[in-house]
């Protein structure tokens, strides 16, 4: 293994490959900040370019683009509440309120440090345990995945909507309903399309996330412009704040990063789980670990609340390379695109990859770490400039956010039906937000809808239609008991602890 690591280090540290990581990180950050263009698109855009390179150089470029795009997505999440990819939705829960309080620079710095730390710890895990971890990932079966997804949705409903658990659960159901529109993945039977061709492919994630976050946020700011309670918020939008972290904030991050890294990496290793579930679970887990005073700050600009999902999503990005490189199973949509690129190079990922092509296996792992370092060096000095987006007057910023949102969806579909649907969803979301119906549970449910149905399908078919799969396996049983505990705690808090007269 030492020999392999040295080979990887030698390959990754060559001048050409270092340049590739730098270019990849920079290009990825810019592309990730653009609406609708996440890591998957960024990597897809790089594929034609990489075919001119050696496989290891091409993969190193793509790894750089991957991390850059994830960080770029966090930037738009924090600054304009427009998460371009599902993995950075949880980042906006506390990142955006922080920016509203005039701490945009600090929020971006926390995101950069957390991403770096999460990625570093995960890269070390990857280095030590990549081959053996693939066996752990295979231990998870469909019922466990199904349970894990319900756990994620329940946890987000419980934690993101303080005191509005039932409203959050309604949003979960609405998100799953929106995800069910379009052709059934297995049978291709159209569902809720009403014979409209534009709906046969379903509703795109970018459309829903832009409508419920960026667009509805922009409309809410204008809608509530005269609200006296909002004045302070509007003023602070023009403040950048320092990017330096004080001792208390650093201390909070030091406790958050290790546990979120471990969780993120483990979730990332599971095929199909990816950085979205990792970031949401890390957010929920972190809220359970902190004291009551800090708990109150969640959703209002908590350092722990921002650091946890950022750490976990980057750790999960590294973790998702485990099933890709060792089993040939992509852990996320992005790694699926990378799998396509690998196959294009004539490389078949699998258990034998690190024996047949050690330079590729290890150089990708080593370049990930180098990519992290370069990303931090590149992005930290740029933070004050990036954060100046917020200094733009509201009269310019709001139309620009709306323009970015519409462009994001137009680039994906090139039809105006999607634009109308986005406007419709944004208007409904604005009204719902006004009455404290939270949007994060809706988004997570929308993202997980397809996977959840797929795992429920497999579980029910295996158990011949019986729901006993929910308690047959010890792992599933533990997950289900955790869900019951969360629901029970919410009922206790709402109706027993504080009875309403």
């Amino acid at each position: 293994m030492i020999e392999g690591i040295l080979i990887g280090l030698e390959t990754a540290l060559s001048f050409k490959n270092l340049m590739m990581v730098m270019i990849g990180c920079f290009a990825g950050t810019i592309i990730g900040m653009l609406p609708g263009l996440g890591p998957m698109t960024a990597i897809a855009l790089m594929i034609p370019i990489t075919y001119g390179f050696e496989p290891s150089t091409g993969l190193i470029l793509m790894a750089g683009v991957y991390y850059g795009a994830v960080f770029g997505g966090s930037t738009s999440s924090i600054l304009i509440n427009a998460p371009g990819i599902p993995g950075t939705v949880a980042t906006s829960f506390d990142g955006y309120p922080m920016a509203q309080q005039g701490k945009a620079g600090k929020a971006l710095a926390i995101a950069a440090y957390s991403s770096f730390a999460g990625g570093t710890i995960a890269a070390i895990f990857l280095l030590i345990a990549a081959p053996s971890l693939s066996k752990v990932s295979l231990a998870f079966r469909s019922p466990d995945y199904f349970g894990l997804m319900i756990l994620g949705l329940t946890a987000v409903s419980a934690f993101s909507a303080k005191g509005h658990f039932l409203k959050a659960m309604m949003m979960v159901v609405l998100g799953l309903m929106l995800a069910s529109v379009g052709q059934d993945t297995l049978s291709d039977i159209p569902r809720f399309t009403f014979q409209n061709m534009n709906l046969s492919d379903g509703i795109s994630f970018v459309l829903v996330v832009m409508a419920t976050f960026a667009m509805s946020e922009a409309l809410t700011i204008i809608f509530k412009a005269n609200d006296p309670t909002r004045v302070a918020k509007q003023i602070s939008l023009s403040q950048l704040g320092s990017i330096k972290l004080d001792k208390t904030e650093t201390k909070k991050m030091i406790t958050t990063i290790p546990r979120s890294s471990v969780l993120g990496f483990i979730i990332g290793v599971l095929p199909g789980a990816g950085s979205t579930i990792a970031s949401f679970l890390a957010y929920g887990m972190e809220r359970n670990f902190v004291n009551d005073e800090e708990k109150q700050k969640f959703g209002k600009g908590s350092v722990n609340g921002l650091s946890a999902p950022e750490t976990a999503n980057n750790a999960a990005c590294s973790g998702s390379f485990v099933p890709l490189l060792t089993l040939g199973i992509p852990g996320s949509g992005t790694t699926a695109v990378m799998l396509g690129a690998l196959l294009g190079f004539g490389i078949q990922p699998g258990p034998r990859l690190y024996q047949t092509n050690p330079e590729i296996f290890w150089s990708v792992i080593m370049s990930m770490y180098i990519g992290m370092v370069i990303l931090l060096i590149l992005n930290l000095p740029l933070i004050p400039y990036i954060a100046r987006v917020l200094a733009t007057p509201r009269t310019f910023l709001i139309p620009l956010i709306l323009f970015f949102s519409v462009t994001g969806i137009y680039l994906m579909s090139f039809n105006n039906f999607d634009i109308y649907m986005m406007i419709g969803i944004a208007v409904v979301a604005t009204v719902l937000r006004l009455y404290d119906f939270p949007m994060p549970p809706l988004i997570l449910a929308f993202v997980l809808g397809g996977l959840m149905e797929e795992n429920l399908r497999r579980s029910l078919l295996i158990s011949d239609g019986s729901f006993s799969f929910l308690w047959d396996r010890p792992l599933t049983l533990i997950i289900m008991l955790t869900i019951l505990a969360i629901v029970g705690w919410q009922i206790y808090k709402a109706f027993i602890k504080k009875p309403v007269v």
């Binding site: 039932l166 039977i189 519409v406 634009i419 404290d436």
Partner: protein, 156 residues
């Protein structure tokens, strides 16, 4: 008797879930799949029931944390103007092309929100969209349909 807006929204969601459940039952599945443990309509049916359950609970149970919104301070005029501008933007984007429709949308939105710095209004519309288009179309090679630019010979 006063009904809170949250309860009215829940009631609407209850009705919506009812319709969703009705259409879920209408999904046509293959004959051999009718009695299968899982088919294309199984998950939507569960979702319909879940929607009825949660919204029903919210309607029936007392509100533990009512949402107080002062409707008199909301700026309806500007919000509705922006929504109408977005609809018009969507209507023209395919016909007039990306460049023209986006630039005009931006100019009108800035004005609608009360901006009167004309130089900035110009700079952050036509030139800004041109640079953005160059980034997407020229550098990232993302196709953007634009009949107007094609007509005047700027775009192929």
């Amino acid at each position: 008797m006063n009904i809170s807006p949250s309860k009215i929204i829940s009631l609407l969601f209850f009705v919506f879930s009812g319709f969703y459940l009705y259409y879920a039952f209408q999904i046509q599945v293959f004959t051999f799949d009718e009695d299968a443990a899982f088919n294309a309509k199984t998950f939507p049916i569960y979702l319909g029931y879940a929607g009825l359950f949660f919204s029903g609970l919210y309607i029936v149970l007392p509100e533990t944390k009512p949402s107080n919104v002062d409707l008199t301070v909301l700026d309806y005029k500007k919000t509705i103007t922006l929504v109408i501008l977005m609809i018009l933007y969507g209507l023209t984007i395919l016909r007039a092309g990306y460049f023209l429709s986006t630039s005009i949308f931006l100019v009108l939105s800035y004005i609608a929100l009360g901006e009167r710095k004309w130089i900035w209004i110009f700079l952050l519309s036509f030139p800004f969209v041109a640079v953005f288009m160059y980034l997407l179309h020229g550098l990232l090679n993302i196709y953007l349909r634009d009949p107007f630019l094609k007509y005047i010979g700027i775009m192929g």
